[in-house]
């Protein structure tokens, strides 16, 4: 059965290659033939899994990159197929007929809810859990349920890589003795004292239910926390950013290693730290890690900044039904001075299901915008009126809010009728259409 399923999987991979179609179908078929397919593989010495609500792709790609450039051969599901079938396909692509993985390292990103199916047999030595935030509630229910799923998958001996600034992730290690390596960001000029966000996953101590105190925040409930009643607090951070310069896209870790980061957004910097920390745990030469990271180019998929005439255009990629991504964009927008035109929109809320949940719009603290110099808020897409309502209730003057059913119709308002720097806070399905709209110089105007 083992060999049959591996051979069948490999045949489908070949067919896929011939048709120039990559998918998780080979894995799906092999899993159908052999329920125990995952038991068929002989894993390499290094196995790393990356999970969490967001950042899986960026973190695992950077880890794979560091490993490769340090001389390892690596198997990685770089296309992002991160459910059981996707991981099965990855293994089939990289194994011999007896199931031996023919690479020195296996790095896979995995959907939070599939960890419990895969970790049992494709057991990682290192697990990076990036974060657990409010993400796709219709699919996930809520963050506590996601936490429980991952927790079920973790087994003693797995070495966790965690953001020590995030108190929610501490729930994984409360009653467990996992080896953990923490990363974090020290207090800096961007940290703030008074909480800016209201709807958080955890504000009470997970041990004794006392409200946590914060010396400072970096974002949402991420920062330097301490329980006033018990010993729960931000752990000792192993790899900490001691100096952060967004303008230069430069960070210094432990006062010792200075490197360039691919993007100047907070989440991207945390993602970089996750990759850095994991690579350090694998005993890869730190100078080498720094060089690889410094030479990583910005993934334009996430954020990009360019000029349109004299105006700066910041394109911020968000995930609908994920309040944290939007909150990040708002915190980013807040960093800049001057008159701003905000564009918010999406084509559809979710590709996954037929219904539209809009509740998450009220988990986002759009109120942050009211403290800024806002010229216009341009609401675009199928839910333009829902977005406009949200803006109004956030305290934006109704006269500054405009609605358009699609980007084409919003073009004049964005390009010609406004003057300020543009902050496009978009769902990923609007990023490319928006950039095309901005690039199009053949406007009849």
């Amino acid at each position: 059965m083992k060999i049959v399923s591996i051979i069948t999987g490999k045949i489908f991979i070949l067919i896929g290659k011939m048709l120039h179609k990559g998918s998780s179908l080979p894995g799906q078929i092999a899993l159908k033939i052999n329920k125990n397919l995952f038991k068929s593989f002989k894993l390499p010495q290094i196995v790393v899994a990356v999970t969490g609500s967001s950042g899986k792709g960026s973190i695992s790609s950077m880890i794979a990159d560091i490993l490769r450039k340090s001389g390892y051969t690596v198997a990685h599901n770089y296309k992002g197929s991160n459910l059981s079938a996707g991981i099965a396909t990855l293994l089939l692509e990289n194994c011999s007929l007896t199931g031996k993985i023919n690479k020195q390292a296996l790095v896979y990103e995995i959907d939070e809810r599939y960890t419990k199916f895969v970790f049992k047999d494709i057991t990682p030595q290192y697990v990076v859990i990036s974060n657990i935030c409010r993400d796709q509630p219709p699919r996930q229910g809520h963050f506590d349920l996601v936490f429980e799923e991952i927790k079920k998958a973790l087994k003693p001996g797995m070495h966790l890589i965690l953001n020590g600034d995030d108190p929610y992730l501490q729930k994984f290690v409360l009653n467990q003795n996992f080896p953990v390596t923490y990363y974090g960001i020290h207090k800096n000029s961007y940290s703030y004292k008074k909480s800016l966000f209201e709807n958080l996953n955890l504000v009470y101590c997970p041990k004794c239910h006392t409200k946590l105190d914060y010396a400072y925040y970096q974002f949402e409930n991420i920062g330097c926390y301490q329980c006033p009643s018990c010993d729960f607090k931000r752990p000792k951070i192993d790899y900490e950013i001691t100096k952060l310069n967004y303008e230069k896209k430069q960070i210094t870790i432990n006062n010792q290693y200075t490197l360039h980061v691919p993007s100047n957004t907070l989440y991207s910097i945390y993602n970089t730290m996750a990759s850095f920390t994991l690579a350090s745990c694998l005993n890869i030469d730190i100078d080498n890690i720094c060089t690889v990271i410094s030479n990583t180019s910005n993934n334009q998929k996430n954020t990009s900044v360019y000029k349109y005439q004299k105006r700066l255009v910041h394109v911020l990629n968000n995930k609908n039904e994920n309040a944290s991504t939007f909150n990040q964009s708002l915190l980013y927008t807040k960093r800049f001075k001057g008159k701003k035109v905000i564009v918010i929109g999406w084509k559809e809320i979710s590709r996954r299901y037929r219904f539209d949940d809009l509740s998450w719009l009220y988990d986002i603290d759009f109120e942050i915008l009211t403290g800024l110099d806002i010229e216009k808020v341009i609401c675009v897409g199928l839910h333009a009126f829902d977005i406009a309502t949200r803006m109004k209730l956030a305290g934006i003057n109704e006269k500054k809010i405009e609605t358009f059913p699609n980007l084409d119709e919003a073009k004049d308002a964005i390009k010609y009728k406004t003057k300020g720097d543009i902050f496009a806070i978009l769902n990923f399905d609007y990023v490319e259409p928006f950039n095309m709209l901005m690039e199009d110089e053949n406007d009849e105007h």
Binding site: G141, D357, S359, A394, E398
Partner: protein, 237 residues
């Protein structure tokens, strides 16, 4: 005129955009010329609910709901008396379960609830998720919303008639409870934002309870109205 709103457990029962209800209430009460004071309370506070005109609780995780229940039970007698005395309560999401007789969790463990109403809530592992289209006789129109719930209930319900979506109990097609000025529904999040007519009804009842002769201003609700109509046109036809 002053309106005082008590937003209970704002930091624990805030799972699905529930604070939208407070934002909408505040915005439109102020548009009617009210001076609105929103006070937020949580499990470390003692509160005197008598001092408030509206009491609101939203949805939370199952764990947070139990933490809140433990705190809220101290106020059981007060809450019962306030509801009987026509105090306005707006309860959304699984906060609604707190007002039944008991909650049975996924492991079969029973938690005594406030027992203002007789219904029993049972939490199940497979969540019920759907877009809702209800009819509401109070406004003689539709109410739209979203459902994402772990609970199923047994008892009597009367606030909404289910056109599409999930009813409170599996036996009938009703959702939520309306009793005096108590409005409880398992719809999650920004109920009053998405339903401008229900919001207007609520505000009218609230202000009229303090001043029967109050002259209501017509307020622009263009965005809300268009957002609402888009859903109703899609769902009801």
């Amino acid at each position: 005129m002053n309106i005082k709103i008590a937003h209970l457990y704002y930091d624990l029962m805030n799972l699905y955009g529930d604070s939208g209800n407070i934002k909408a209430l505040k915005f439109y009460l102020e548009a009617q010329g009210m001076k609105v004071n929103v006070k937020r309370f949580s499990i470390d506070d003692e509160f005197s609910l008598d001092d408030y005109d509206v009491i609101y609780i939203g949805s939370g995780t199952e764990d947070n709901q139990k933490m809140v229940l433990n705190h809220l039970l101290k106020y059981k007698t007060t809450i019962n008396k306030l509801i009987e005395n026509n105090k306005f309560f707006l309860i959304t999401g699984n906060a609604f379960e707190l007002f039944g007789s008991k909650i049975i969790d996924m492991d079969g463990k029973e938690f005594k609830a406030l027992h203002i109403f007789d219904f029993v809530s049972k939490q199940i592992s497979k969540r019920k998720v759907d877009e809702a289209l209800f009819k509401c006789s109070l406004i003689n129109d539709y109410v739209i919303g979203f459902q994402n719930q772990s609970g199923t209930m047994e008892g009597k319900f009367n606030l909404f008639d289910v056109v599409k979506g999930i009813g409170s109990s599996e036996q009938n097609s009703k959702e939520g409870i309306h009793y005096k000025n108590f409005y409880g529904t398992y719809l999650i999040g920004p109920l009053l934002v998405r339903n401008y007519q229900f919001l207007n009804y609520f505000i009218k009842e609230l202000i009229s309870s303090k001043n029967k002769k109050f002259k209501f201003k017509k307020i622009n609700q263009n965005f809300e109205k268009k957002a609402f109509e888009k859903v109703v046109n899609k769902e009801a036809n």
